[in-house]
Assembly symmetry: C2
Homo-oligomer: 564 residues x 2
């Protein structure tokens, strides 16, 4: 009898024939069965078939199991987009353990924190990052002292790297990844989890101001998100996906698992460059890739000798962010998304409406730059008044916090009841992002809660000011924060990096020009009252550190009226 069920019609229990855990692991078994000879992974000259990938993942699971790495254990992976990190997405949960892909741009102390916090039983590290891992483990050992049980250290070699690095690591006692696989059984009888709520992955948020938080995901959620990700994007059987998005970002937004469901092909890139992207598109049949706006910019602004144009086919691009597609990308069909680690990656998509087809391009761009509507796997999306915790009106003006609920929301933060309480208040996940809801139900992000500038009692979205600044021909990158202001309390302060070739310009002239440009486009109180040039401080993951800029703006002291 089901919960709440009544009568004969619900009196039919689950059994082994009609119920099993939802887990993306099934996709891998199926891909190997249906397309054993199809390419699963291409990494330069190294290529695997789905049968090989399945066997390698079973070997990995088997080898981990032999080391008692199973239920409740965590395996950390520190690697760029290479086959081993893909394999870990299946091999680790096949053993019952949880995969934790670590951002390779983090520094050793932060990695030490993550490994200690997650009690990693195993660390799989790409040879290039071996010394980083070594350093992190040293810090961890000295932090925890006597109680420290060093994790199993496995080094992953890569033909494209210096063979000396690998030798060094092996000399220092690390286990060779390929040898480790050899010790496992390619026919390992993996089992789905007993309970699909079991954890499959752990990923740490980058946390610009506090300790990283460990986002825990379930087998069930990963299953739902994998299918949803394909459907939302119109990705079909046999898709060829280019990995510019790091797999350590929300498990490559779950496309790691989607590709197995679609029996598709992963094209790995150790390092993203315009040349490598164009070459993969031209030579490997790439149909889809996800890219941050900065990657799209790199592709778009690449010198001619690094491009291969025209593109040989329609390439579908999914991007998190609202940068308008440069002309060179017009052959790429762009999907905008918004999401967080806490929502398995994207939770909204700006679904295109046929009725927009006939609108002026400008209106199309404006509508399409919004974050949009909820994913299939997400059952609730709204914008809540931050005090009343009720939906804001769908007027395109009233700001509130984006909240989500449903099967593609994380299980919670690891060992962080305080943060969980706050994040899940009132049965909704609170994103901390501020948005408006348009009359058509599409949401549009206005800012991170703490990135709002309050000037003369009016809210200014630093994000909106930034988006105008990006339209100025000299601006390459910009970030706008609040600076104390004698008269208004706060006013916008723009930090700007100039476009390549413009570095020698007279900064004062450019600043004047930028302000003039802004005055023509936005309310006077939005116009940055200060413009500062130079490189922008970033986190290891490439996020601009607004808190550093806020501190800098504060240091500059209040804007004085005479300066205007």
């Amino acid at each position: 009898m089901v919960e709440g069920g009544r009568g004969d019609i619900d009196d039919l229990p689950k059994n082994d024939a009609n119920y099993t855990a939802l887990t993306p692991l099934w996709f891998l078994e199926r891909a190997a069965l249906i397309h054993p000879q199809r390419k699963s992974i291409i990494h330069g000259s190294l290529q695997y078939t789905w049968l090989q990938t399945y066997q390698r993942c079973r070997r990995l699971a088997s080898a981990l199991a032999k080391h008692s790495v199973g239920l409740g254990k965590t395996v950390a992976v520190i690697a760029p987009n290479i086959p081993a990190i893909y394999e870990a997405h299946f091999g680790v949960p096949m053993a019952g353990a949880v995969v934790n892909c670590v951002n390779i741009r983090l520094n050793a102390p932060t990695i030490a924190f993550l490994l200690g916090h997650s009690l990693a039983s195993v660390v799989m590290v790409d040879q290039e990052f071996f010394s980083l891992a070594e350093e992190a483990l040293k810090i961890l050992a000295s932090d925890v002292k006597g109680t420290f049980k060093p994790p199993l250290l496995i080094v992953i070699g890569d033909e494209n790297c210096d063979p000396g690095q690998l030798r060094d690591a092996l000399d220092k006692g690390a286990i060779d990844y390929e040898k480790f696989l050899e010790s496992g059984d390619p026919e390992y009888a993996w089992k789905p989890p007993k309970d699909e709520w079991q954890s499959i992955a752990l990923g740490y948020t980058s946390g610009t101001t506090s300790n990283p938080k460990g986002v825990v995901l379930s087998h069930r959620g990963a299953y739902v998100m994998s299918l949803s990700g394909a459907l939302i994007w119109g990705m079909t059987e046999g898709a060829v996906y280019l990995w510019t998005l790091p797999m350590f970002h929300c498990n490559g937004w779950c496309y790691t698992w989607t590709l197995a469901a679609l029996c598709g092909t992963s094209v790995c890139l150790r390092q993203v460059s315009a040349k490598a992207v164009y070459s993969a598109i031209a030579n490997e049949g790439v149909t889809h890739f996800c890219a941050a706006p900065i990657v799209l910019n790199t592709i778009a602004s690449a010198p001619k000798d690094q491009t291969i144009l025209p593109l040989p086919r329609q390439v579908n691009v999914m991007t998190a962010g609202a940068a308008p597609p440069p002309p060179v990308l017009s052959a790429m069909s762009k999907h905008g998304t918004y999401g967080l680690s806490e929502t398995y990656g994207p939770s909204t998509v700006c679904a295109w409406k046929p009725e927009w087809d006939s609108l002026p391009l400008e209106d199309q761009a404006r509508l399409n730059a919004r974050q949009g509507v909820r994913y299939i796997g997400l059952e609730g999306l709204d914008v809540f008044d931050t005090e009343k915790q009720t939906p804001v009106p769908a007027d395109g003006v009233t700001m509130g916090e984006i909240v989500t609920r449903g099967n593609s929301v994380m299980k919670g933060y690891l060992k962080n009841p305080e943060a969980n309480k706050e994040a899940f208040a009132n049965g909704w996940f609170h994103s901390g992002d501020l948005a408006v809801k348009h009359p058509d139900g599409y949401i549009e992000i206005k800012d991170r809660a703490k990135d709002i500038i309050i000037s003369g009692g009016e809210n200014i979205s630093s994000l909106e000011v930034e988006s105008f600044l990006y339209q100025h021909p000299a601006v390459f990158e910009t970030s706008v924060v609040a600076r104390p202001d004698e008269k208004w309390g706060e006013s916008p302060c723009a930090f700007v990096t100039l476009k390549p070739g413009m570095e020698g310009s007279n900064e004062k002239d450019v600043a004047q020009d930028i302000m003039k440009f802004c005055r023509a486009k936005m309310p006077a109180f939005w116009v940055p009252k200060s413009v500062v040039f130079g490189p922008l401080p970033k986190t290891a993951t490439g996020k601009i550190q607004k808190h550093v800029l806020r501190a800098k703006a504060k240091e500059m002291g209040p804007v004085k009226r005479s300066r205007l």
Copy 2:
């Protein structure tokens, strides 16, 4: 803590923010939110948008709730492919009840049995079938006498039908469907089921020899199957689907729900005709339809004046059965499937492999005529030795029973513990269909267990003999069964309907020609030793009644050697 889980990493409970029932009802809410103005249903000149469909479904749920039709209750729908049967797929489960779509080709006593067996609280009936429903209810009332509580009787009008029918029904006290909707709240606050294992639909198998069995499906299974059906077929957002497949067949194989997930459009057909199909393809933008082989034949052999050719676009056809596509259908990309009511519709698909592209057409046809590999939502598919209950070798020769397991297997048969025990023996669902497993893992159906002919100790698949017979130019339809045989115990007996225009032929000559044709193509013992001409007996659902033919063949007495 999850079942089997250990430690902090699994100690994160479900809450309202990160867990909700998987149910296709979410798809409808989402479609109405994202594409309120997009066409949801086209039924001749009657058209609805997704917002309207959502409101109509909420009205239906609300009106049902007002009549205390909720958890544990069943609503029967007796209708062809019209908007109301689509709406029932959402409105009924939104009220917590179970939708039971009844095959309109059944006779009154059978429908009486179904309504009594499922204890239908409501009967929604299309005006054309009102007298059928009336008769069934009369039989039911006289069967159960004093204890009979007549269901709420709702009649669905259709502008395309005789208005007198509707008036008659209303005069007899039936409730008008549109009036019923009006009594409901278009903003009804429906809730997902507390438990996704709750039943969403009930469908009766046609049961040629015994009482129909009621197949019960869950919200969870319907969710998984809806997404799987889209992914398997490469159906993407905004697909336009033509309803030739009746929605009362396995809930239109769950495409009812898939279309909401894709915010697609349903084009209804009250009656399937070549003209209507071509017209829908030409005028409504149809991208996909499912069709039984007989429907494909009708389309293919339509007189020129009923066709609109060439097709304006690629149309994707999903068909259950192995008929080779006639040349006129070459513009339709065909997917072959195999499935049962017990597996929410299709459970296998003959996934095309790129390596087949270069094979001779004949080999392509042979490979593609197989039933293939498992669906994404099905986690187990195998062929078991019927005695040992272990997998047969993948040799393409050894026959066994097709077994399946996973989330797209039914909850069970309603009030039928005996049948459930048999169907779910050993933790697998037993299909009763016989197949071989090829070296590439693809399965191929050989026969229903009881349709095997045993001749001189050798098994003959009546299906295989039939497939050869279909290649003979005079054969329109055929069914092959065992006939007692003096010498061999049994031998194949072919019942044949001739192609239109051939009815006047000399039957003896044609029979000789068919046998000669067979001798050139198949082992001698496979060749039908008797050929009988005439129309074939069929069930209400159009299935050939082999048991009738078997009885007829038996009556004919044993084949005598002198006849050969």
